[in-house]
Symmetry: C2
Subunit: 186 residues, 2 copies
Amino acid sequence: GEVVVLRYGHRPGRDDRMTTHVGLTARAFGADRVILPDNAGQSAETVRGVTDRFGGPFGVELREDQKAIVRNWEGVVVHLTMYGERIQDVEGEIRAAVRADDGRAVGDRGGDARDLLVVVGGEKVPWALYERADFNVGVTNQPHSEVAGLAVFLDRLFEGEELDREWVDADRRVVPEATGKTVVDA
Amino acid sequence: GEVVVLRYGHRPGRDDRMTTHVGLTARAFGADRVILPDNAGQSAETVRGVTDRFGGPFGVELREDQKAIVRNWEGVVVHLTMYGERIQDVEGEIRAAVRADDGRAVGDRGGDARDLLVVVGGEKVPWALYERADFNVGVTNQPHSEVAGLAVFLDRLFEGEELDREWVDADRRVVPEATGKTVVDA
């Protein structure tokens, strides 16, 4: 099963940093790839650059047809929105919906868990997205940040296991320490 | 015990949205107040406006003396940085450091738990901050987003209890639902 983050909508200039942070957050918190709108080329470059330096695998795609991607997704669609059901109420149900018949959980790469599309709104999203989504999920029902919502959603989806992920083909690696800023060759 | 988020550094224009999202994320995920640099007035207004409409209590302060706030903090200082110790390794220790002698946890308002300052870097932070911090914490040791790191840190600090917080003096309230966008008078 694959976990894919779709950034819905992007205003060049104004949204560049938020869209970049959506991509970097998807990578850091265990998604397999991010799909950005085709006018977000600069954000895509930044996320690819981080993947080159700090490792993957992580895919970055630019696509024009966001509506069609959502409509035709053959798997589970989660839409993060402050109007949705409370994450603490539905996270177990989402994991169950994605889990493979053989019991492999969402984070098991190569298992036959279902694919999961996580849609993160930018500008206004169409009502059809609310209807197509298998789950409209509120990571709190308060206004805050699509980046914050995505991070907490993924951390809960993977039950923290994404934090132990190992990275391949990295040039460099940060050594976690109590006081320091140490980066070594990977 | 009070939980306060300090945004360290702000470049007007370029950082407006990120600083606003830091403030809104602090509010939505259970902090008591946020301290922003004094050149971030626009972000402060936005966060105050959300608090007026969606409730509090939540404080927003503009302060010039960020270095002094950190240096003189009489409680625990956590600095979020990708170079820090892994959140999954130190979150229990942080909760223990903040917990009151009477066993009240960090989220217990009015208990005598210690105050916690969570420092979120923007521009480069001084080395003195790494030294003063009781904990330098990496929410992953990967480059991503200060907003994502703050959200996941607070969700783990409060062990999810912040999601059940009730808001007072709100004008309006979102009704969580499977498919809909319902806002009612609070």
